[in-house]
Symmetry: C2
Subunit: 253 residues, 2 copies
DNA sequence: GCCGTGGCTTGATCCGGATCAAGGGCCCTG
DNA sequence: CAGGGCCCTTGATCCGGATCAAGCCACGGC
């Protein structure tokens, strides 16, 4: 069993693992699904796309998928598991940049510098599809659908990067964070209201630019207000509408 | 005269306007210079690149280059002047996302949503090169140099977006902001130590997630410490090394 | 079993920067 | 010229969240 059961009193949700051995299911939920579908399954171009993919893993919790400074050769789609990306600044302080769920893509910010500007660390046992970037670029030049898909992926990440920017209260940040996670799980076919937080309170705090104690306090408050149920890393969103309302200023529409 | 002289006691630096009527100079400093050079000046491909460019402007201070929700058709390179991009959240609060100097590109974050997710507002009289994005994509498919240039532009912006994220003191943010502005001016061939702040204190504050009063106080403190000289919007960086040191945790290398 | 460690929670205190408030300078317009 | 608006600066006060501190629990190693 890959995910340790916390023996909490909340019922276990289905494990958010796309790679259930069913290739088609993973591909449906993968970030490149759009490109593949545009090409048309079964067409020879799809085979080309799949040829440049290499399955890698498992990476155990705490292991690096790539490190700051590694030469950039490929981007990675999360096949199963969860990853955090983080930078370590000159004072040695860690800075969590993002969390990536099954179907999402990491490494795009390395294209320009040609070296990874951050570390990618598995938060639980994780598997990936590795796309050689030179091969991908070459394919993109011949397949407009792939090219525009890459543009869209990049542009999309630009949009989400500017989200955590604003100055917002701890409650707003936390509510938006949980709502966003739920939506992303839902978009990949998992439950959007009940899931495991695969990262520690410290990682959440770092990502949201809060102290770990504040994260703890806000979660407790949300629980007392009946917005969520939380026990260790098991999370149940009891009142998605209200939660979203609290975080509305950070959330799209 | 395009830029109003503030009649300050600081000597006027050369106006940061790339478009001095000298086409070649602008192109040397433009964000697409890399792509053009890769193609090779004088080659027929360069003509194609230039054919899809349309010069637009002038936009006067306060005028919109595009607005939130406008359908995305093109990206814009700043030819001269300065632009801020900003979002207005559901509570009506403005959120400054960035400032763009001559040679820089705006609109990349609109590719994915296919509509501009933010406003772009001229801070002074400004001119632009407008690149039709469909045409650009088509060209990119035929010219690998253009494609990779677009990838790099997008990826670069991803990197800078994660800069303003961290939790840093007002001094660090301000020092990093001024250093970064200087570097960007220097990269386009202007003075990196003496220039005009084309945005108000309020815009700087909003961008750095500070109060306008704090921006004012920090600037005064920097002046008292001999780091800078500032009078209205005229800025002179007296001690670039120390300033950079204060902002080091936000700055690359 | 015992102990050490790391993640989590909760309480008490402190501080950086927001907010409130007041005043000055500049520019525009009538 | 007066009046009004905007931008900027500086001072006084306040507050949200950081920091410090203590204790709990689950887990792993010995």
């Amino acid at each position: 069993m890959r995910l340790e059961n916390q023996a909490g009193r909340l019922p276990e949700p289905p494990s958010p693992i796309a790679d259930d051995g069913d290739e088609a299911h993973f591909c449906r939920t993968c970030a490149f699904a759009g490109a593949c579908q545009a090409v048309g399954y079964g067409k020879p171009e799809l085979r080309e796309l799949h040829c440049l993919v290499e399955h890698v893993g498992p990476f155990r919790a705490g292991e690096h998928v790539f490190r700051t400074g590694n030469p950039f050769r490929a981007i990675f789609a999360v096949r199963s598991g969860t990853v955090k990306t983080s930078m370590v600044d000159k004072e040695g302080r860690e800075q969590v940049l993002g969390f990536y769920l099954p179907g999402e893509v990491i490494g795009l910010n390395a294209i320009y510098p040609e070296h990874f500007p951050c570390d990618a660390i598995a938060l639980e046992t994780s598997y990936f599809c590795r796309f050689s970037f030179p091969a991908m670029s070459a394919l993109a030049a011949r397949m407009p659908a792939v090219q525009s898909h890459l543009f869209r992926l990049l542009s999309k990440e630009l949009g989400s990067a500017s989200l955590l920017a604003g100055d917002h209260s701890a409650d707003e940040r936390m509510a938006a964070f949980l709502t966003d996670l739920g939506q992303r799980y839902a978009a990949r076919g998992f439950s959007g209201t009940q899931f495991q937080l695969s990262m520690s309170r410290g990682d959440i705090a770092n990502y949201l630019r809060l102290a770990a104690e504040t994260v703890s306090r806000v979660l407790s408050r949300f629980r007392n207000q009946g917005l969520i149920e939380v026990e260790g890393r098991q999370l149940l969103i009891r009142d998605p509408a209200s939660l979203r309302h609290v975080g509305r200023s950070l959330l799209p529409d």
